[in-house]
Symmetry: C2
Subunit: 262 residues, 2 copies
């Protein structure tokens, strides 16, 4: 049986039906929350701290509908669901392999009713979903502009890291068209793109409300930036206390332990 | 005798000619650098940490020509000169009383050959100076939009704090027209205006290169932002390590002591 967006849902099936198969080079990792697990292929792309920090930063009401643009292996919907941030999730991505792993991870965690994974190009998303329909859009987009040092534009890593299929501006435009007026947009990105980010958000009526800089150490440059915007909100930016990852070599700050949940 | 920009210069005058008179409510404060002093009127406006941090943040070659837009009592040219950042300074401001104090402070410190204070509206500045003529423009502009909670738009405090005479966008446009292509622009502002700041800089071809957030404590929101831009530079933002002002109540962090110089 299929539900309305084409994801196989198995109702009241015995436990063993949820057992999913792993393909070559894939492995299962623990998410340290609610016992959730994720299937990843370390030869392609594994989620990083950026996804975890974004899920921690995103301030989402429990009942919200959430679109994750460029969901990859589905890490962000899994983490948000585990934290009871949002109730219905759609994750879209263009990479076949990632989508395939994400779907099996959803099955593995028995979350078919809550998380729907769809293979789609970001640019098609405004045809797939009603405009202004999501309470929240989250995204951990490619950080690098299309051809900055790019050797193999078809590889999973290249698609995850470079703007091969959609520019940052296009990405943000789609987010703005899909989120409700007054709805929230959360993104993690790299500080070196801050001008592009702020300009694109401003252009597409996503008003920045909250910025958090992430520094590996207190005396180092920021290497990630977390941003919250509201569609057509009132412009008033808060730059929150910085998030400092390490207090010493290989020793996380307490805040990172809190976000990771262990 | 007057020099070419209308500032009285006294050459080889005996020491006592430099003695300046104080007007009602004015006082002389020490700048803790090179023995420099500044005349201020605490009933009007005294310089704050923002000016000191901007002078510390600004990375200016020793031989550079520097325009300070909205110089007030001339604090920024005085601090830059004391740090040997720049060789020739022009400070402009629209407030008669501030300009008058700034001129006397320049005399008090025997800096008439290096610092020139001119009463002018920011909007007139592109008529006063050749376009693209300064190596560096610095500014500590009004932080508040024109009418946000404004009661007395003619007061010195109002003019220093609110965009009564020029909007942030106009302010930045003038800076961009007066600085050389490849020249630097340094500004201190409030983080809540970050979208307006980034958009105006982008619009007027001042490319953001460096951002430093200033937090009163490590666990508090930023209350100042320091920005370096280059006219028509390549877009690549560095968000520097945060500047944390206090490590404990009334106890400055070492970096603040370094910037203040004591």
């Amino acid at each position: 049986m299929s539900n309305d967006i084409g994801i196989k849902a198995v109702e009241e099936a015995p436990e063993e039906l949820y057992k999913v198969e792993l393909k070559a080079d894939e492995r299962i990792d623990e998410l340290q929350r609610k016992g959730y697990q994720i299937i990843q292929n370390p030869k392609q792309f594994c989620f990083g701290m950026d996804a975890v920090l974004l899920a921690g930063f995103a301030d989402i009401r429990k009942e919200a509908s959430v679109l994750d643009m460029g969901t990859g292996t589905g890490i962000i919907p899994l983490l948000l669901e585990a934290r009871e941030k949002g109730s219905k999730f759609i994750g879209i991505d263009i990479q076949e392999d990632s989508i395939d792993m994400a779907k099996r991870s959803v099955q593995l965690n028995h979350l078919e009713e809550k998380i729907h994974i769809i293979k789609a190009d970001i640019k098609e998303a405004t045809q797939l979903f009603p405009l202004s329909s999501f309470d929240v859009v989250v995204t951990n987009p490619p950080y690098m502009s299309a051809h900055a040092g790019l050797k193999n534009p078809d590889s999973a890593k290249a698609i995850a890291r470079h703007e091969v299929h959609a520019s940052l501006d296009e990405w943000i435009e789609v987010a703005s068209r899909l989120v409700k007026v007054g709805g929230k947009f959360f993104m993690v990105h790299r500080p070196h793109r801050l001008t592009d980010i702020m300009s694109a958000l401003d252009k597409h009526e996503l008003t920045v409300k909250r910025i958090k800089m992430v520094h590996p150490y207190v005396d180092k440059e920021a290497n990630m930036v977390l941003i919250e915007a509201v569609r057509k909100g009132k412009s008033q930016v808060i730059v929150e206390k910085p998030l400092i990852v390490y207090k010493a070599l290989n020793e996380y700050h307490d805040e990172i332990h809190d976000i990771y949940g262990y």
